[in-house]
Amino acid sequence: MSRRITIDPITRIEGHLRIDVEVENYAVSNAWASCTMWRGIETILRGRDPRDAWMFTQRFCGVCTTVHAMASVRAVEDALKLPVPANAQYIRNLILIAHALHDHIVHFYQLSALDWVDILEIPKADPAAASKLAETLSPWTRNSRNELKAAQDKVKAVASSGQLGIFTNGYWGHPAMRLSPEVNLLAFTHYVQALEYQRKALQVVGMLGSKTPHIQNLQVGGVANAIDLDSQSALNMEKLETIRLLLDEVVTFINQVYLIDVCAVAAMYPEWFKIGSGVTNYLAVPDLPLDSEARAYDLPGGVIMRGDIGGVQGFATASDPVFRESVTEDVTHAYYQGERPLHPWKGETEPQFTDWDGDKKYSWVKSPRYKGQPMQVGPLSQVLVGYAQNHALTRKYADLALGQVSAIAKVNATPALMHSTLGRHAARAIRAAMLGELAQKHWQLLVDNIAKGDLTVHNEPVFPSGEVEGVGTHEAPRGTLSHWIVIKGGKIKNYQAVVPSTWNASPRDESGAHGPYEASLLHTPLARPDEPLEVLRTVHSFDPCMACACHTFDPSGRQIARVKVL
């Protein structure tokens, strides 16, 4: 006898991600992921100037602004075969890294840690014991008894007020929560500290991009930052030095707190290394180009099929011909017209809305496929694709994390465990540590290049009279992002964005194959089906983000999310 559970956060006036699961004998037997809002926003770009596209695409999503700006300028540059000056590459890379570090820190602490950390256990903790435990794990200087006690007092004050505030709706006391009061306290202390460090990362984005959340410094062909080491109004040594110091602080937090916390939490929930694998086809594109022509990259890309790490196929460039030719979007189960899967350059976005029907159409998200197969994207894909290709930096931090988990859990944690819910969290922390090291490297590359006397930041784009096609990619915090553009006579003829959450949240395709969210939920055990914490753990591990939300404030307090058990 199965039951259907619907988790549907009706966010403001437009919908977001909705998850439906069927539960049999306290385990998920079937799953559907759907987005309840039309994603036709690209249509507003048709007929516009390709040089302006990034300003519009930056508004696709308020959380991932910079990534859509960057993919857009790269798409136009790819279509024009326009190189980007080395300075512009480094400045862009620093912005992308700083944004990703901010995003990963917020994701772990503010968006998903409370799936594992029980706030109501915190008042029981002994701050001195917690501080002592922390000393064995990390050299972080802000784990003192006093700092932990201050954090505990915040929770006590909230708990004793009778109003849980931000903690109102957690699954506190759920049987799937298992950390000791001391570990709960440590994690919560870092939840509060994380707010400071994610802000420092955003400050770097703002200093280089001139504004957040919408950067202003991009141009097709480069960036608009004036570099002049002696000018107060330009990017000068003083500003570069401030950026370096901010990055150093963020990197220290990642290495001494974020990475350590993820490993410690993982080590205490080892069964979650066996839950939540789902689609084990992985896709990542190369990113962080090292030169003007983008011949070399600091992050490798490629494809792994069916979890076969040894069979990895690498991509040479961020717009590798194999990648360009292999992506299609299927609309069998999405609310769009169309019979056959289409390549994004030929993509259509003609709505055909029906009611939610799990056997037919049930989502506004299309089903992107690579050579006809569903693919998982995100930090886990990036780490596995790098690990499989013996990428030294990936190995360094992946082996460090696995070693840490092994030491705490007293098990032998191997890369095979990464195909899981916890694998996705661990991979995000590993990627953050890699990006932190690369931030420092690209800062140095920029400073060295300027020191050589190269102040170039922009190459002027020239549009041919005929038709050209391009793809701009970025390995964003949530995975492979690609913008596909067709330009005719200097105007946009077609534009499609295939975003990371489209890959991961995709509905079934014409063959009936589940998308990654759906597949990852199958067989998940549920201790209390009417409090589906375990479903949220796996969905949150992907860092879902349904882009292009309408943000109208609704003061009426009508229930804005629900868990419905049928």
Binding site: T11, I13, C550, P555
Partner: protein, 185 residues
């Protein structure tokens, strides 16, 4: 000097959802403020809104609202109105009710603003690429008056400029001129 942020919230690509950023554009074009006043188009933030709330004394937000009033109605909300119903029962992604949660998180960290005013404008339509409705456009001027009244109440000085009228870069295609080479780039 009190630190204050004036932020427009909403998506400029979705009709009247862009009214917050539109009001911010009008403020930037028509007024000059002290360094202690930050005027920002905050777009459609998630919890990254917290980063904009720390270290400030007062916050003025302009956002479209859904409240059963006629389109173009301007309604003022204070902190207790915004937080009355608490955070969302289930948070699925980083966009989920960002405003109330961000305020609660900033408060928890002890760094949120004390004075909060949300100037809500009831929207008429939220069509992709449609631009502002006439109702929202007219309400924008009344929202500016509310921003200035709040600044007066907080004793924050500002200067009215003799400026060109604000022209939004995200206009629908039919009204749009190329936006490249805009001066603010």
């Amino acid at each position: 000097m009190k630190k204050i942020t004036i932020g427009g919230i909403g998506s400029v690509l979705l009709g009247d959802d862009g009214v917050g950023p539109y009001v911010v554009g009008m403020l930037e074009a028509g007024y000059s403020f002290d360094e202690s006043v930050m005027v920002a188009d905050l777009g459609t933030p998630g919890l990254d809104l917290v980063a904009h709330l720390s270290g400030i004394d007062a916050l003025i937000l302009i956002d479209s609202v859904s409240n059963n009033a006629p389109p173009g109605t301007v309604t003022l909300y204070r902190k207790e109105d915004i937080l009355r119903h608490g955070p969302a029962p289930v948070r699925m992604d980083p966009h989920s009710p960002a405003l109330s949660e961000s305020l609660l998180i900033a408060e928890l960290a002890g760094e949120g603003p004390q004075d909060i005013l949300l100037i809500g404008i009831t929207g008429d339509q939220y069509e992709v690429g449609a631009g502002l409705s006439e109702a929202a456009r007219q309400a924008a001027a009344r929202a500016i008056a509310e921003v200035l009244a709040e600044l007066d109440r907080l004793k924050i000085p500002y200067l009215k400029l003799r400026a060109e009228p604000f022209s939004a870069w995200w206009k629908p295609m039919a009204e749009a001129l190329p936006v490249t080479n805009r001066s603010e780039r």
